[in-house]
Structure formats: structure tokens, C-alpha cells
């Protein structure tokens, strides 16, 4: 059975078409756009909150998008166990919406960083990572505010529950300061909620799916979702 990805379109999003292209044209799944003012999630099996600069990133990244009509439905969908993946700005929106803990600060360097990075897959028990054989993925980041912050207690809880799914690392999987591009606590690049159905990540898997671009590790994440989404619902 082909899963259907619903790609939410916020004003100012700029990775919505990439997400659609990656899931539908490259990987051959169903995909449909969902405008931020809509309340109908169009029977999607998976919701993608794509990257970009929703509402101009005014006030704080994701702060305004979080109150859009579609997000009310996405929050309900997530609370009912629906699979949601927030990428970059989508991750920031999930944080503002309280679906994931923590907040984003400006990168420690204050620079907008756009480059390929390596991320270590720390938890392979999630539906987003179950089918991934590799330990390290090469996926690009493109953000000015990806410096993950949460208080000590929250970090402790995230680590204990294995909610840290991806960590910035070297090509051979070493997690250290040199491989941390933005100053994130514990090199955190992606986290999952306690129930395991909501993932937020700063790197852009949709930008690493097309073989033409010589990097395809991002596709592994969408494939893992597709292979496990229906098993999860049973």
C-alpha cells in the first residue's frame, strides 16, 4: 500500500515543493499539498511540515505558523498517533506548537549555514529510522536558527528516553564539537516525541533524495516511514 504524504504549505515556506517532489516524483508515493488555511488533511498518512521561513520568521521562527488553522488539525492528528515529520522550519514549528520539547536559538556562529553535514542515527527503533541500515547519513542543513536548546531536565529526559534520533557527527559517526555546526546541546539534530510519532529534524532529507544530486541518504528516512507507517497503525 502506498502511503500518502500531506505537505503543508505555509506562506514563506520554500521546501514544500522539494518535499512533494521527493516523495511523489522520486520515491513514487502519493503526495498532496495542504494550504495553511485548510482544515482538511486530505486523508494523509504522514504530514510533512516543510522548511522555509513561514510568516517571514517574524517574532520567532515558527511562532506564527503554529497558530494557523491547519496546525490545529495537525496537532489533533499527532495527538491521535498520526505520523508527523517537521523539517527545519517545520521542526521549529513543532517546538513552538509544543509537540516537541525545547526551542531554537540562533546558530552560535550567527551565520546562516548551508552545507552537507553528517548525522548519526542514534535510535533505530523509530518508524522514521527502522529500515535504515547505515549508521551515519549525509544530508544538507540550511538554517540560521538551528541551535537546539532545552533546560537540563528536558535534555536528561530526552536522552534517557532515547528521543534523540539524530546527532551531528563526523563521517565515521564521531559526535564531537568539530562536527557540531550550530552549537546545539549534545549535537542534537533531530528528536522524536515520547509516543514516537512526531519527528523534528534540522537537516533536509528532501534535498537528498534525487540521484541526480549525488546524495540520496534523505530518501532512506522517507522509505523507512513508508515501510513502517501502516505496521505502526495496526
Amino acid at each position: 500500500m502506498k502511503p500518502k504524504f500531506g505537505v503543508v504549505v505555509f506562506p514563506g515556506a520554500n521546501c514544500d515543493h522539494d518535499a512533494y517532489y521527493a516523495t511523489k516524483k522520486i520515491l513514487g508515493y502519493d503526495a498532496e499539498f495542504i494550504w495553511h488555511k485548510e482544515r482538511d488533511l486530505k486523508n494523509s498518512d504522514v504530514i510533512i511540515l516543510p522548511g522555509g521561513f513561514s510568516y517571514g520568521d517574524y517574532l520567532r521562527t515558527g511562532a506564527i505558523a503554529r497558530f494557523s488553522p491547519v496546525m490545529e488539525e495537525v496537532i489533533k492528528f499527532a495527538n491521535n498517533g498520526g505520523i508527523v515529520i517537521g523539517i527545519c522550519n517545520g521542526f521549529q514549528i513543532l517546538l513552538e506548537a509544543g509537540l516537541l520539547p525545547g526551542a531554537m536559538q540562533k546558530n552560535q556562529s550567527l551565520k546562516f549555514i548551508c552545507k552537507d553535514v553528517y548525522i548519526k542515527v542514534e535510535n533505530k527503533e523509530t518508524i522514521f529510522t527502522k529500515s535504515i541500515k547505515q549508521n551515519v547519513l549525509k544530508i544538507p542543513i540550511a538554517h540560521g536558527e538551528g541551535n537546539y536548546y532545552a533546560d537540563e531536565e528536558t535534555i536528561k529526559e530526552l536522552e534517557e528516553n532515547k528521543q534523540v534520533v539524530f546527532r551531528y557527527s563526523t563521517a565515521d559517526g564521531k559526535v564531537n564539537n568539530e562536527s557540531n555546526p550550530n552549537g546545539s546541546i549534545n549535537n542534537i539534530a533531530g528528536i522524536i516525541n515520547k509516543n514516537g510519532n512526531v519527528l523534528g529534524m534540522m537537516p533536509h532529507p528532501e534535498r537528498a533524495c534525487d540521484p541526480l544530486l549525488k546524495r540520496t541518504d534523505g530518501a532512506l528516512i522517507f522509505k523507512s516511514i513508508a515501510e513502517n507507517v501502516f505496521i505502526n497503525q495496526k
Binding site: A63, A103, Q105, K106, L110, N147, A150
Partner: protein, 83 residues
Amino acid sequence: MFKAVVIVKRRPTILDPQGKAVEQGAKLLGFNNVKNTRIGKYIEFYVDTDDREMAEKEVREYSEKLLSNPIMEDFEYTIEEVK
């Protein structure tokens, strides 16, 4: 009607890279006594009611729910009646 001013500040325990960068500029200009530059947000707006209590309640809720992020920011506000 009331005029409200909300100031949103980053918690003192949280590093402010933006403030740090600006302070580097201060040093370049020779302001050697400048310390602990921190950047926050100044937001002003009007609340259209004659009831002071209600105005304050709205300012507080607006600040808590949208203007600040309680995970890393604090806010303070003032309100004054205007005609």
C-alpha cells in the same frame, strides 16, 4: 483604551550570541566599559477596552502565548490609559 509596552528578554542564564556579536562592535568603536550586551524585543500595541484589569489580562496572555517563548524568554510590560 490602554497603550501597552511589552519587553521580551532572553533568560539571563541563556547565552545571547547576537548580543555578543554586537558587543564586539562596541569594542571596535572603543566602548571598552560596555559589558553584557543582550538583545531583546520591544513590542507596543493598544488594547481597546476601558477595563484596566481586562487590559492587563489580555496583555499578559498575549505575551505568554505568542510574544514570548517561555522556554527561553521572560517578559515584562507596562500599560497606561490613553484617550
